[in-house]
């Protein structure tokens, strides 16, 4: 019981104190999980992060699930996850309900427009770095272009595109191996 509360409160703290999730959360997770609680070593945390990056879902949340499970089984996983998610739910519900009342205030609208512009610049930057790390060769470039064109001009659901890309990745690597053999 004490352990579950510890898991919940630790990840709650990480959730409150980090903006942006993903990589932005790593230093904070390190301080709380590795240095303070000693639930994992530096290498283990990076391994868990690698798993979080290649499994569905939000990386930071996946990390809290994994560490929670290691510490206290299924309930540990549930409480770790709840801790990570709780601050978001509380803060966003508050902001969403407050903001609807200020949506006709011109100052709020201008500030929000400014934020959207900054976020656009940040997102374009993220897309560039995602493309840089994701596209390693001709196959990657082809998948990137095909994905962009199909998303733009065809009604193919996003989920199907992701599944096909995974299939292509596996197929291409098997062919490469056969060639080598």
């Amino acid at each position: 019981m004490k352990k579950l509360w510890e898991l919940y409160s630790t990840f709650f703290r990480v959730g409150v104190l980090t903006f942006g999730g993903g990589m932005a959360m790593l230093p904070m997770l390190k301080r709380e999980v590795v240095v303070k609680k000693k639930w994992a070593t530096d290498e283990e945390l990076l391994d868990i992060y690698a798993i979080g990056q290649c499994t569905p879902g939000i990386i930071a949340v996946n990390t809290s699930t994994y560490i929670g499970y290691q510490q206290a089984g299924v309930w540990g996983a549930v409480f770790g996850t709840l801790g990570m998610v709780s601050p978001s739910v509380i803060i966003i519900c508050l902001i969403a309900s407050i903001l609807t009342q200020f949506m006709d205030n011109p100052m709020v609208l201008h500030a929000l427009a400014g934020i959207r512009i900054a976020v656009c610049a940040l997102m374009i930057n993220t897309v560039i770095s995602l493309a840089r790390t994701g596209i390693r060769d001709k196959v990657g470039l082809l998948l990137f272009l095909a994905g962009f064109l199909l998303a733009t001009f065809s009604p193919v659901p996003t989920i199907i595109l992701v599944i096909c890309a995974a299939g292509t990745g596996i197929f291409v690597n098997i062919m490469k191996e056969k060639k080598r053999a």
């Binding site: 400014g114 998948l143 998303a151 992701v162």
Partner: protein
């Protein structure tokens, strides 16, 4: 039954948005065409708010989108739906495969998924960029020049080495202040 639909839709997003919070954006964009829960402009606002509040962006977005669709119960159900698949999958991986990320097939699948996710996010971001920097009124497109100018300035500043590692929150504050002062 909006709550069941919300749960199913966000469960699907949780299952297929691989590689972090930004990966939820193309799926949320798809929801704007499927349901009347929120518009593309509202989605742009959600992204802006999710980036400027604590917590993982993907969770913030799910909560916000769920709130828009069905108030506080909607927010809780959407977030729960998003987290559910990962919770199950991670527990299974933690239990059975400690070397999951070294698996040959997992690696190969991600060799294909990464460029695709980059393209999908790229397309979703493009749509948001269009509504942020241009107005479309009955087929007539007018560019918002002051918005474009501010966007270009921030983007260029982002490429400068010492400014590169500044926390995104600072840029968001810069955007809010500039937006208020210059009435973009």
């Amino acid at each position: 039954m909006i709550y069941l639909t919300l749960f199913i839709e966000f469960f699907k997003i949780g299952l297929f948005s691989i590689g972090g919070g930004m990966a939820t954006i193309p799926f949320l964009m798809e929801l704007t065409t499927k349901y009347t829960w929120f518009t593309t402009t509202e989605l742009a606002n959600m992204i802006a708010i999710s980036e400027s509040t604590p917590g993982p962006i993907g969770i913030n977005m799910a909560t916000y989108a769920g709130f828009h669709a069905g108030s506080i119960p909607g927010a809780l159900i959407a977030t729960f739906g998003l987290v559910c698949p990962a919770l199950i999958i991670i527990i299974l991986i933690a239990k059975f495969m400690s070397n999951f990320s070294d698996n040959k097939y997992v690696k190969s699948a991600f060799y294909g998924i990464r460029p695709m996710i980059a393209a999908l996010i790229g397309y979703a971001v493009w749509q948001i960029v269009v509504i942020t920097f241009a107005d479309t009124n009955q087929g007539v497109i007018t560019l918002k020049y002051s918005a474009i100018l501010l966007g270009v300035i921030i983007f260029i500043l982002l490429q400068i080495k010492p400014l590169k590692n500044i926390h995104p929150l600072i840029w968001i504050i810069v955007g809010a202040v500039a937006g208020g002062v210059f009435r973009v």
